[in-house]
Symmetry: C2
Subunit: 322 residues, 2 copies
């Protein structure tokens, strides 16, 4: 099959696909070229988040003998793919849902500890020649309530590690109401925020979740830990930009409603002009949740397995068309 890879692929996966007899072309295209049908000669397109498969793009590459029959999202979120248009035009859409789970889990724990202990700030100050020991007093996670907004695979992985740190786990998820590990489930997002000094976001971006976390929601957080310590409020988002209203976040960090906020994802990326970057309690990484050697290797293996199923005429397990 003819495979277009627009946002990169693991080198071993490319080799495996070629050994299976497929042709792999690695090239990034502009939106204009995509709307002009530049990938209509390919059977499969493999994308990450940088390529937008809108209804227009899908139509342009399937109409008039366009061959495109499959979109593979190397990663999880498919908010850059128009699923119903794909289905209408007989294009299968698959993602690699579990390959990056552990990478995001570890990054979330890293952001939580690093922000509460001011590791990035300490490193920055030292490089500026300042031994800022006294201003870097932080707070511990043990004994605090961690509120998980969304309780899917990644959230449950975060919960397991946070529990071993000694945090008490709370969650809100409209589709999950109980588990075997003593997680406290809430009936509303407001109730979750009212109970937790530490919040980590693990839901998808949708019309229901866009700007769900704003200044008013953050103001509900208790500032005093479950252990009675005045640790202030802390928030982490390694899920999707846009779930947090970044103006509200700026206001909450500036006013002390939040002591720290850590974002790996932003409403508009690249987010190098965000005014949040001027604040001390803010910590940022440039959407590197899945950026590990291990995750890229697992994603590559899943892509090979999806294409193998598709070549055999089977429907891959991660097919998202309804």
């Amino acid at each position: 099959m003819e495979i277009a890879v627009t946002d990169g692929i693991d080198v071993n996966a490319k080799k495996d696909l070629q050994e299976l007899g497929h042709s792999v072309s690695e090239k990034h295209y502009s939106n204009e070229d995509l709307i002009d049908g530049c990938i209509s000669e390919f059977d499969i397109v493999v994308i990450r988040s940088a390529t937008k498969m809108t209804a227009d793009v899908i139509k342009a590459n399937t109409a008039n003998k366009g061959k495109l029959s499959m979109i593979i999202r190397a990663g999880v979120g498919v908010d850059n793919i128009d699923l119903s248009s794909a289905t209408e035009n007989s294009v299968l859409v698959c993602n690699t849902p579990s390959a990056s789970t552990n990478a995001v889990v570890e990054l979330t724990i890293g952001h939580l500890i690093s922000s509460c202990r001011k590791i990035s700030t300490g490193d920055k100050k030292m490089r500026e020649g300042l031994w800022a020991k006294k201003e870097l007093r932080g707070s511990e996670l043990r004994g605090k309530n961690l509120g998980l907004l969304g309780y899917g695979r990644i959230a449950r992985g975060v919960a397991d590690i946070a529990r071993s740190i000694g945090m008490k786990i709370h969650a809100y998820d409209p589709y999950v109401k109980s588990d075997q590990n003593g997680c406290v489930f809430h009936d509303s997002v407001e109730s979750l925020f009212s109970s937790c000094t530490h919040i980590s976001i693990h839901c998808f971006l949708s019309e229901e979740t866009r700007h769900l976390v704003d200044y008013d929601m953050i103001s509900l957080m208790p500032k005093i830990g479950d252990d009675g310590i005045q640790c202030g409020n802390h928030i982490v988002n390694c899920a999707r930009g846009g779930i947090i209203n970044e103006d509200g976040l700026y206001q909450a960090l500036s006013s002390g409603e939040l002591i720290t906020a850590s974002l790996d994802v932003f409403e508009i990326e690249p987010a190098i002009k965000s005014k949040l970057l001027q604040l001390d309690g803010f910590q940022a990484t440039p959407h590197i949740g899945a950026s590990t050697v291990e995750a890229q290797s697992r994603i590559g293996n899943e892509i090979v397995s999806i294409i193998r199923s598709h070549s055999n005429g089977d429907i891959p397990g991660s097919c998202l068309n309804k």
Copy 2:
């Protein structure tokens, strides 16, 4: 009793001591003033690491009707106190061994994840206006071997969390040879380093451990994880400066023997002129292992309890004189 506090104390502990009828004077003294006997009018001195209680200082404040009868180290390490001189001059020495354990445990895990995922670097680049997503590919901890040099309270706390992350725990400790949690014990430091892509240091500084970790030792590390992934080698030290030879560390980071190194402690502090700070894979914090609200509160409580015992004529449990 008359209590001199030379490096700070938790505000609630000070209040508690005053309510018990003690007089508390907070003031930092120079080495010269200490050698001149400036605290000889006090019964107790409470110090952190910044005050050096050498033999000369102890003699000067106990001789000629000097009243000093107790040194309390707010924290763990007593390498700044001449223990045998204290004993000779009938000065009790106590520390607060467990109060900061969890603070150091969490910081160690934070340094481990943050360095392997380049969180500090990502934050720094974003503040410089760079969306350096592609250069920030990191590696995961799950599936890797974590080698603990020293297996005391802090190391065991780190092991518990690292195990929940999915790391396999290895250790070398001349005084501990087995545990209940499946830790792999090694007969030598060389054997430990040869087996682990990730090393965390948790021993005291002594003549045996000074510069124990040097370029040659680091060169033994395998670079390839237990899961077969080429993750490179990583080292963290939140214990004591001087255990790592910093010249050797610089050489190892520069040559690629190490991918990352994270230090909270340095041979000479404040370490703001360290040439390590010029390297990208390096991450530093200014000796903030115990710098949490929670640890300072627990240390304060322990100090009050030690002074209460001493006032009652009892020998406190954490007394270190032999």
